[in-house]
Amino acid sequence: MFKRILLFIIIIGIIVAIASYMWNKPHKDIAAAKEDFILSATQFYKEYSTDEVASNAKYLEKVIAVEGVLFEIQLENPDEPTVALSTAEPDLTVRCGFKKELLEDVKKLKVGDKIKIKGKCDGMDMFGVVMTQCSLIK
């Protein structure tokens, strides 16, 4: 009888532990994750502008390491410092949003720098391809 009660308590304990783990499970750490694709900003945008639907199927929510030339640093939204990489099209870029804790990293960069950024692909809007949860690859 005692054993059975103990077993019951253990099972309940495990269920509660799993449920609370699921509920509080941490966000995927994109900076630490292995990249699914490595490509240049030019290539990335070219693929997206050629076929947005197919590119979404291929890249959405994937971890991408993108290489390119820094076109612009965008700091107008203090919650997400952003670095835009040049593509073959003027004014259309790959926008990479960083967490605000990484503001100092972003501020150190200069227009024209050749950089490599890792992030999560969110799709394409009127200004180009968008990535968030980005970090610099040194």
Binding site: W23, H27, N56, Q74, G97, D125
Partner: protein, 189 residues
């Protein structure tokens, strides 16, 4: 004499091209990193999602306004909320983009050349998932140092956009969401 003519001619060309540039860019505003948040409140739980990658262009002459929101750019406090939001409610792989296509109804109420706060309703079509509905809301526009901020807070019904909430969690998610739009526009150069 020849030199003088040349200088005058050059100054003329520069003046004309400068005027032309101003004219072309005249009155267009854009943001690439605007903010849209939504808030769901029930007695059981408060849920908030923030998107800092909202793209928008605004024509200050016609009042025409376009907003694009990539659904996957929304961030939540809890990873599980983000997962449910993307996979179950918004189906963001199938419908990655939400859009607003509309206009500032009373564009003359806003003096884009003068610092100040102006009000006008904004109306247009809001597309979430595969559903488009017309919406109308109060907008507040603040002009300061050549920049423009546009703000609006309004409510949408989930049922209007084919967002189905499973019975198990229906007490945790409000049937109406509060949407906050906060866009810091830059004048297009």
């Amino acid at each position: 004499m020849k030199n003088k003519t040349r200088i005058i001619l050059m100054a003329g060309v520069i003046a004309i091209s400068a005027a032309f540039t101003v004219n072309v860019a005249g009155g267009k505003y854009m943001t690439k990193n605007g903010k849209v948040s939504f808030f769901s409140h029930t007695d059981m739980e408060d849920i908030k999602g923030d998107n800092n990658k909202v793209a928008s262009v605004l024509d200050s002459k016609t009042g025409k306004m376009q907003i694009e929101i990539l659904v996957k750019s929304f961030v939540f406090k809890k990873a599980l909320m983000e997962e449910h939001f993307n996979e179950n409610y918004m189906e963001s792989t199938k419908y990655p983009k939400s859009k607003f296509d509309g206009k500032i109804d009373d564009i003359n109420a806003i003096d884009f050349t003068k610092d100040g706060t102006y009000k006008s309703t904004v109306s247009g079509n809001l597309t979430i998932k595969d559903k488009t509905n017309s919406v109308k809301t109060n907008g507040t526009f603040t002009v300061k140092d050549g920049k423009l901020n546009g703000k609006a807070v309004f409510k949408i019904k989930l049922a209007d956009y084919n967002v189905e909430i499973p019975a198990v969690v229906k007490d945790k998610i409000a049937k109406e969401l509060e949407i906050t739009v906060d866009l810091d526009y830059l004048a297009l150069k």
